[in-house]
Amino acid sequence: MPEEVNDMPFSIPREEFMEPGHTACHGCGATLAMRYVLKALGKDTVVSVPASCWAVIPGAMPNRTLNVPMVYTPFAATGASITGLRVAMDILGKEDCNVVGFAGDGGTADIGLQSLSGAMERGHNVFYIMYDNEGYMNTGVQRSGSTPYGAETTTTPVRAERNFKHQQKKVVADLMMAQGVPYVATATVAYPEDLIRKIVNAKKIAGPKFIQILSPCPTGWYFPTEKTIEISRMAVQSGMFPLYEYSNGKLRVTKPSKTISIRDYVSVQDRFMHLDEEDVSNLQSAVDQRMKNLLDRERETSGA
């Protein structure tokens, strides 16, 4: 078969570094995040993973599901771990090896934040990937700093008191931009071509890179397993999770070709089923405000 016909329909690299037979739930978005990141980076990569779903997805010893080395690190220590791996690799003369921290939102927005901030500040040539499933999912769906306003979790049980999460999402990518990390981007699994392009762009920068990947979780967001990609797409279209790329001091925000309302987004996930009109409009205004801030920032940094 001629080459050009052969690869025509494939919009992302064909080589796989994640094997089947892993233990992730049906329709897991976090699994796709890892699959795409490794497609972008290739074989010469080492991944450091703290306590999280991804620490158990590969299965029990002696099983592995990645075809690259994977190091387990204590929950709070991903930033320190990739610092050590980077320095060790450089001493061994393996400057070209990609060193990647791959941590959940609990391990990034909450417990690992100081370790992350330190690693970024020291300027090491590392990737920090935060796969954001908006909660502590591996331990049974607890609220994290990255859980959005309005969501029910097992530590924000709704019941009669309507005790859903009342605080807005803490967006770590925005914090990293404020810290002046050389490369910061957001991505999500519905747009693997965009995600892979961002990782490839990030690789060109010989410094710290932070990428936050929204990874819908059917188990913890309470939606049917076939909707993972659809909901990932809706997160972008509704403005809940804007896609952007920040490098060389310039911010570029991707405007979705189709837009939908927050009402459309929340109505397909049972974690939001208790929200009334006022709650939804609270969420809508916070989302609109953040989008406005991002677009202002884009205008300021574009030099126009």
Binding site: M18, P20, P62
Partner: protein, 99 residues
């Protein structure tokens, strides 16, 4: 050299077919080989076949590689059926016997 235990057995040894309640079935007569199903499968359960003997909507499509579901690993999440632009993946109930 000190020997350290390595996790060197591929997770391929774990078949996850028993997780499945619904099984995806591709109608190859409608499948345009766009590989969107392959792209979005979280279990890497869609393989690519070069066989030209698989049914296809027309001769041009027949020359492209086709997606083939590996039922040893498919968990039946339904993402492939939900994302297929031609609506040609149907999720059907598994009819396993109950012991």
């Amino acid at each position: 050299m000190m020997r350290v235990p390595l996790a060197d057995v591929s997770s391929r040894v774990n078949h996850t077919d028993s997780w499945r309640i619904l099984r995806p079935e591709i109608d190859y007569g409608k499948c345009i080989r766009c590989m969107i199903c392959w792209k979005f499968c979280p279990d890497n359960a869609i393989t690519v076949s070069e066989s030209e003997d698989i049914k296809s909507p027309n001769e041009r499509v027949a020359r492209l590689e086709a997606p083939v579901i590996d039922l040893d690993y498919c968990k039946g999440c339904g993402i492939c059926a939900n994302e297929c632009p031609e609506d040609c993946v149907e999720m059907v109930y598994e009819s396993r016997g109950v012991n």
